[in-house]
């Protein structure tokens, strides 16, 4: 049928089917700003349009229903001054992170301001109530609306400047536009899904309905015979190789235990077969035509089941070691049926007993420490699986160009993708090119090679372009989740509050495959234990295979779980001692000049060493939080706050807090947190900076910007060093052909490593510029300096970068001026933070509302403060979601019960705490670029323990399992059996 409507002010008519949605038709017509976060469930709002002036989800509107109506998308407004104002305000308020939601956000605000020119915070929340954003934590959207409303009323309005740092520098420490913000805020082509050309084939996977089964037979004849089917792949015709999907430095500390397709399926949603077809509909039809016979096995659905004697064995293949030998007493002989398991080096594993990896170490003598204690507290904490939920699911476009495999990927690790795909496909790395597109959120899930191996292989095999994008359900069940864990913490302390011993016993559930199986749980220890000074400390880590969804990397890695367990246990010890929990932390925490001995046992894959801290800002951050929360006033009974359990109705609450009845009781909690900045001694990053003929710069950075602002950071560093402005620097990044190697975006390494490489490249170019200019000006290099904007000034003369650039491309000139920087270091840079929470807990219903959340954060020099704050807001709100309601649930057959946004809740703007504050309190690092450290990951580490402590303060119950659902709170309070 033909449907005609007004699209962005012009008549438009499209041929469409009865089932076509407005969104499908508009995207077909080239309107790319309509995104897809939920596959038409109607729950994400990223496909929003204005239909006769109302904001609606275009996936829930039949195209036919648009007949005769007025449809407006963001594209229209690129000529609309009001929308330009809103888009500008979104950039100014640093709201554009991955940008996948930004067009929908801009359109929502446009609709809001059209009906309410001076909206209240509640109206802003209502206007954005249907739009999910996983990156920003929403807080800065309120600011963007304020700026836009003020500018629409008065075009001359200047937004107040945020805090600035490093007055000695021009750009570093000051807010500058994010370099990709314009493209993203306009909804222009940027992501993998925007690169599809006619003729692209679609890849779909047949998911396993069973958690644990052998494929007895698989018949693909009917599927293969279907017109439009290009290829069908099963375990019978895929490469016979095992690898790990973990995008980690090679050799990886993860077992090679995954085949492209295996004859054994190990979780519901595991790959059974893959179909490549000319349309997605044909691919779906072909999947339905595949006949599979399974031999269903008993599944392993918990850590307890995995370690039980006689448990079903998830990996029964032969075990071998590239280096080193198997631990004594472990079995290595395969059953002759299952895929082999190859360890690059020993991880103290015993896969035939479902033990993927383990580690034990410590300092001092914990038993002596417990013996010396006046009080010993031992508690077990449980944390369930949570999903990263990037709004753009895993996505890749693979094609053959000039005989090589080219992957346009939504990835955090282009070089690891190249290495792993080359291995999986069986070709050399020079035959593979990976181009990282704009990434619609990664958060760790895209550190794994989840779709690229299959797509790459089928493109290589068929020579056809292949598009493979996970559905939202696949993203839940077959992407990567945060490991479920159980951590037992045993603490010994003297009456005066001095810790005498810490023992952490950690069991992790790595799911069916072993990617990150040791490093994530180890990170739970290595990013929590070093915060406390204790001579006797020990940890025992075990990571088990189960038949639940694969676990992997997720922002914070293991740290949020270790932090939850240890910080909550410390507060429980404080309660037992009758001390204020913050006083107890203060007494035992690391401080400037502390020697952290436990790091001897926590080398990341190599021998560790004790570290003596330089300056540590924890004291200042705690003091700031104490002041803001009026913490002083003495501890109440059992270490609770003096005002603990105060009815919310009687207290002064933050301005926009909801009205709360006498059933709501108030409590507060505070924790200290830490992370690292990349992996010292293990990882490396490189960058190249070219002076162009007009004096501008081209930065070729290996770094993978996931929306975090890394490209902006590298541009600013180059501009700072070369006396230019960020607009003078174009950044090309994450392309394995045209940019130099970088380990990728993980382990909080972006600013420190990729930024460090960019800074060194800029310094190298500066040195070359000065040497060349010195020769031309006839002056000594040491007498020259670079001044803004792009002038090399000597004692007697000066020359512009533009002139030098011009000469560099002339026959009589000095040749191209290129700087190169490599960053690697043995120096460990720790960002620290202190997070403070005030929660209201309904003692009748167990519901928890976060009223105040303050994050005091030391990220060293914040290179772009507003973007850094955005990272903290985003991480903290995610962590609030993890702590209160996010949880993947499974039935007794291992099927995920809530693989969609209607059932798995992530925070919306309505969940933003009424008083949500981030303060950056920098302590400069000696090695990081201009003193910078990492910022984003650390901020997920605080919410869970701080909220648990606040809940206890409010109602006197310790909730030791996250998320703290109302049901668990009531159980902890003894109100449910």
């Amino acid at each position: 049928m033909n449907v005609a409507f007004t699209l962005n002010g012009r008549r438009a008519a499209y041929e469409c089917s009865a089932d076509d949605r407005l969104k499908t038709v508009l995207r077909r017509a080239g309107i790319l700003s309509l995104r897809n976060g939920c596959d038409g469930e109607g729950s994400c709002g990223l496909c929003a349009v204005l239909l006769d002036g109302k904001l609606v989800n275009s996936c829930l509107v039949l195209a036919a229903e648009a007949e005769g109506r007025e449809v407006v998308t963001i594209d229209h407004y690129n000529a609309d001054p009001a929308l330009r104002t809103i888009q500008r305000a979104l950039i100014d308020a640093a709201c554009v992170q991955c940008g996948y939601c930004t067009p929908a956000v801009a359109l929502s605000i446009r609709e809001l301001l059209a009906r309410s020119p001076e909206p209240t915070a509640a109206e802003v929340a209502d206007a954005l109530s249907g739009t999910l954003c996983r990156c920003t934590g929403y807080e800065q959207y309120f600011e963007a609306v304020r700026i836009a409303a003020a500018r629409l009323a008065d075009p001359a309005y200047a937004a107040p400047k945020g805090p600035e740092f490093r007055p000695d520098l021009r750009h570093v420490g000051k807010d500058r536009d994010k370099v990709d913000a314009e493209t993203l805020v306009r909804g222009e082509a940027a992501y993998v899904e925007d690169r599809l050309a006619p003729g692209t084939c679609w890849l779909k996977v047949l998911p396993s309905p069973h958690a644990h089964a052998w494929i007895k037979s698989i018949d693909v004849a009917a599927a293969e015979a279907m017109p439009g089917v290009v290829a069908v792949l099963t375990h019978e015709n895929c490469p016979d190789k095992v690898y790990t999907t973990a995008g980690q430095g090679y050799p990886e500390p993860s077992p090679y235990d995954q085949r492209m397709l295996s004859r054994k399926v190990r979780h519901v949603g595991d790959r059974v077969a893959a179909v490549l077809a000319e349309t997605p509909e044909i691919a779906e039809a072909a999947l339905s035509a595949i006949k599979v016979e399974y031999e269903v096995l008993e599944p392993v659905l918990s850590i307890a089941q995995a370690k039980a004697p006689g448990a079903p064995v998830i990996h029964s293949g032969a075990v071998s070691y590239v280096a080193g030998s198997p631990p004594a007493g472990t079995s290595v002989e395969g059953d002759g049926r299952d895929d082999p398991i190859v360890y690059q080096f020993p991880l103290h594993s015993d896969p035939h007993r479902n033990l993927a990896a383990s580690a034990t170490a410590g300092i001092g003598d914990v038993e002596a420490g417990f013996a010396a204690a006046d009080l010993v507290v031992e508690r077990t904490y449980k944390m369930n699986r949570v999903q990263c939920t990037p709004m753009e699911p895993h996505s890749v476009l693979a094609k053959i160009e000039a005989g090589r495999l080219v992957l346009h990927a939504s990835t955090q690790v282009p070089w690891h993708v190249r290495r792993i795909v080359a291995r999986a496909v069986g070709i050399a790395e020079n035959k593979v090119r990976v181009i990282k597109e704009r990434v619609g959120g990664g958060f760790g899930a895209k550190q794994d090679i989840v779709v690229e191996d299959l797509a790459g292989y089928l493109a290589w095999k068929t020579r056809r372009p292949v598009f493979f994008r996970y559905t939202r359900e696949e993203e839940f069940v077959a992407s990567r989740t945060r490991h479920a864990m159980e951590i037992t913490v045993k603490l010994g302390a003297r009456r005066d509050g001095a810790l005498t011993a810490i023992l952490m016993r950690l069991d992790a559930d790595t799911g069916p495959y072993g990617q990150h199986c040791l490093t994530v749980p180890m990170n739970a220890i290595s990013k929590s234990l070093p915060l406390m000074l204790c001579e006797n400390a020990r940890f025992e880590v075990k990571s088990y295979y189960t038949n639940l969804s694969p676990a992997g990397a997720y922002q914070g890695y293991g740290a949020p779980k270790g932090s939850f367990a240890l910080q909550t246990a410390l507060a429980e010890m404080a309660e037992a001692l009758g001390m204020d929990q913050l006083d107890f932390l203060e007494k035992n925490r690391v401080r400037s000049g502390s020697r952290i001995d436990i790091l001897k046992s926590l080398g990341e894959g190599r021998e560790g060493a004790a570290v003596t801290l330089g300056r540590c800002g924890l004291g200042d951050m705690i003091a700031r939080g104490r002041q803001a929360f009026a913490w002083e006033g003495g501890a109440g009974a059992h270490g609770q706050s003096a005002a603990h359990g105060q009815p919310a109705a009687e207290a002064a609450l933050p301005e926009s807090a909801p009205p709360l009845s006498a059933d709501w009781k108030l409590g507060r909690g505070a924790v200290i947190i830490q992370q690292g900045s990349g992996l010292p001694g293990l990882d490396a990053a490189n960058a190249e900076l070219r002076l162009l003929a007009d004096g501008t710069l081209l930065m070729l950075s290996g770094g993978a910007d996931l929306g975090t602002g890394l490209d902006t950071l590298t541009a600013k560093l180059a501009a700072e060093v070369l006396g230019l402005d960020p607009e003078d620097v174009t950044v090309i990044s994450g392309d394995t052909d045209s940019t130099p190697f970088d380990k990728g975006a993980y382990a909080s390494s972006g600013t420190y490593f990729s930024g460090g490489a960019a800074l060194r490249a800029a310094e190298d170019l500066r040195a070359k510029v000065i040497a060349t200019a010195a020769a031309l000006l006839g002056e000594k290099p040491e007498d020259l300096r670079i001044e803004p904007r792009g002038r090399v000034v000597g004692l007697r003369g000066e020359i512009s970068l533009a002139k030098l650039g011009h000469l560099s491309v002339q026959g009589e000139g000095h040749g191209e001026l290129v700087g190169f920087g490599t960053f690697k270091t043995d120096h460990a840079a720790f960002p620290f933070g202190a997070h403070f929470v005030q929660a209201a807990v309904n003692e009748r219903t167990g519901e928890v509302k976060i009223l105040r959340y303050h994050a005091y954060q030391d990220c060293g020099t914040p290179i772009n403060p507003a973007l850094a704050r955005g990272q903290v807001y985003g991480a903290a709100l995610k962590a609030i979601g993890h702590s209160l309601y996010e949880e993947m649930l499974y039935d007794e057959r291992g099927r995920c019960l809530n693989p969609r946004f209607l059932d798995y809740k992530i925070p919306t703007i309505a969940e933003v705490p009424p008083d949500f504050r981030v303060e950056l309190m920098p302590v400069e690092d000696e090695v990081g670029p201009y003193g910078a450290k990492s910022v984003s990951e650390i901020s997920v580490n605080g919410a869970a323990p701080a909220i648990a402590i606040a809940i206890h303060d409010a109602v006197g119950a310790w909730v030791r399992e996250w998320p703290f659902t109302p049901e668990r709170v009531l159980r902890a309070m003894g109100k449910l059996s």
């Binding site: 049928m1 009865a18 089932d19 949605r21 939920c38 596959d39 038409g40 469930e41 109607g42 729950s43 709002g45 929003a48 109302k54 904001l55 609606v56 989800n57 996936c59 829930l60 509107v61 039949l62 036919a64 229903e65 007949e67 209240t120 509640a122 109206e123 929340a125 209502d126 206007a127 109530s129 249907g130 739009t131 909801p658 009205p659 709360l660 009845s661 009748r844 219903t845 309601y885 649930l889 019960l897 809530n898 209607l902 059932d903 809740k905 925070p907 919306t908 309505a910 969940e911 659902t965 109302p966 049901e967 009531l970 109100k975 449910l976 059996s977």
Partner: protein
Amino acid sequence: MVNAYFRPKSAEEAATLLASEKDAVLLAGGTYLLTSQFAKKPMAAIAISGLLPAAIERHGERVIIGAGATFQALAEAPGMPKALRDAALAMADRNIRNRATVGGNIGADKSCASLVPFFLVAEARYSRVGALALGAAEWQALPAAERGIAAAVEFAAPTARRFAYERYARTSCDVAVLTCAASAEFETAGGGLAARGLRIAMGGLSPHARRFPELERLFEGAALPGKAAIEAAAAPLFSPVSDARGSAEFKRARAAALLADVLAALANPEANETPEARP
């Protein structure tokens, strides 16, 4: 999967198509029917947007809401009982409120349909296209295929009658796990306020929201007891099922607490705490 699309010129023509077309479904806002959960269900969509009344009117005590009215229009309509506005705003997602219709809500009749509990306690009547009006509970009792097209919802809201509405959801923008509406007149009796003509409806405890006469009898004609007493009395009467949103035990306790809150709000509207209230 929409296999065929019809755009009739009148509500009557829509009713004829509904009766004659194979797999016929009425398509209003589409926020239920067009979601991915029905991607595989064959449907012949009969578009009714624009064909049904959409006005929201109050004539003295009588309230008439066109079945074509959207949730957002209902939330913005002046003169409606606050509890009805709360029910409309319980659908917290504005994008959905802009499309979802009143007719679609009673048509879908989901267990946690936001408006249905209110209509049940208002003893609303649904007028239909080319058929006699039905009471809200009668409508629910009919098989969906026999209900026809709801044209408007009508109920009495006399000044003496109070309404209250609340829901429990896991997050602010979640679809409700439990809903509760109550309505009563109050008169002074024995030194307190006694509820007369008490009506209670709850969703989330059965496949469709329903009245709870057993609860109504429990509290009828006397001053409402305190929250703890209401909870203790009501909890044993609920038999929810365990699912991803909570165990049966939790839902039972939570439903009892929700009821207690709604009855407290009914008895004391001044103190009515309405977390749902938004602009």
